[in-house]
Symmetry: C2
Amino acid sequence: MDFTGLSAFPLTPLVDDKLDEAAYVRLIERLRTAGVDSIGALGSTGCYPYFSRNERATALRLATEHSGAVPVIAGIGALRTRDVLWLAEDAQKAGVSALLLAPVSYHTLTEDEVFDLYAAVTRELSVPLCVYDNPGATHFTFSDGLLARIAQLPNIGSIKIPPVSALERIASLRSQIPETVTLGISGDAIAVDGLNAGCGIWYSVMGGLFPEAALTIARAALAGDTAQAREHSAALAPLWDLFRRYGGSLRVIATAAELLGAVAAPCLPAPLRTLTGDARRQVAEVIETLRLA
Amino acid sequence: MDFTGLSAFPLTPLVDDKLDEAAYVRLIERLRTAGVDSIGALGSTGCYPYFSRNERATALRLATEHSGAVPVIAGIGALRTRDVLWLAEDAQKAGVSALLLAPVSYHTLTEDEVFDLYAAVTRELSVPLCVYDNPGATHFTFSDGLLARIAQLPNIGSIKIPPVSALERIASLRSQIPETVTLGISGDAIAVDGLNAGCGIWYSVMGGLFPEAALTIARAALAGDTAQAREHSAALAPLWDLFRRYGGSLRVIATAAELLGAVAAPCLPAPLRTLTGDARRQVAEVIETLRLA
């Protein structure tokens, strides 16, 4: 697969603290029907590190069985290299088209440790891998130099960069990595700017639940119609505000999915919780105002 | 058990990327022979979140089988509440005397989520639990107010606090928690000051490999012989320097264990690595200079 366009990251919903297979299949089918360019199964939005190896294999099998022609990118991050290698194998057996790997940490990792992790994993892959730079969750901060070194490894297809300082980094990073490796922007609120600045793909949280709205933005931006793309994105400002107010996109999107009946409540793995009270009412209002559904 | 004195936290060594049962038993037996007051099995030094449920159950069984009369405190932290509950059950079945729980995070946790985690876990325990405040690894920062709320839950026996700002917090925290709950100091370099300031227990990394040296410090401090305790601790300044220089105690102690032949190399779960080159030589020098063995 090539890492371009809109990559939509669905939740991995629970019911009674177990994988809600029916709801997950509905989320996947919705993304297929909307025509997203790829599906990011078990991304951070899909809470990959909270699930067991078996649960992750089951989710990936469901994703590939119901995604039709849409390629599935599978999150394979784990604390231990051994587990990452097992997860890479499981994901390829499940028929995914690509892998996504973040250097999850408990003890702080060094640059050499992270490089060796990617070297070990990319050594024997039959699908390309996206390097996942998400310091907010992994607590590892990639230098551009380290990303450039990792981008030289075999089977690297893309680098997913976080929104913080993204716009300042893109041109320099772009010049340090092979042309075959795309840069991808995370952080829905600045996706348009990222795509304009040279990112080839948008790794999107909102796209996992609201693929049509995300596609409208992505298609305009990638067609070079910046003004139109900005306008579509600006219209969603109340959603971006909620993301900022409630510690990121996860709880807002999970709450929205519950409110819309796309998933059962509570859909997140405890101790994580969806929003309650006033925050939940604000999510409901924004869904209604923006006619998201 | 009461949470007092020296609690020694051993490594959980690997050989060929699997639990090195023989080396682990030797580490546990050494702590028993030295007469530490408790053994912290599968603490951060024991890399608890890097091991599978089965590996953790095996390690705890080995620890309780070889610890003699020394009580074992078992780390049960995991990202998901479901897993923490399973690990609490496994640990109690393995015969441990107490549990140690840190709020491990990937997505940032809220105070309410963390409180609910402790409420769920402490509801049905047959052994006491130590709250583990380690923001450097869990990326959750406890407020004193939250610790005070959690300390009111049933079966809470101790709170393990990190070295940063510890000395400023102890008196205030002490006044907000029940008398039955001890405060414990982490961060070997400031252990004496923590014990002097009102901590009843030292949760020690160096004590897991060098129990005699740690006991000398702990016994003097807890007997009120502050000058003597400080002198013993100051003599280990070169070790504290290494901890500071190499990102904490884990890699230094794991390297020391390898150099001393107490464990095979590499003993840490990849991607974590022990020190190499000049750093490794410095560890060897400090072991020799301080006559640690």
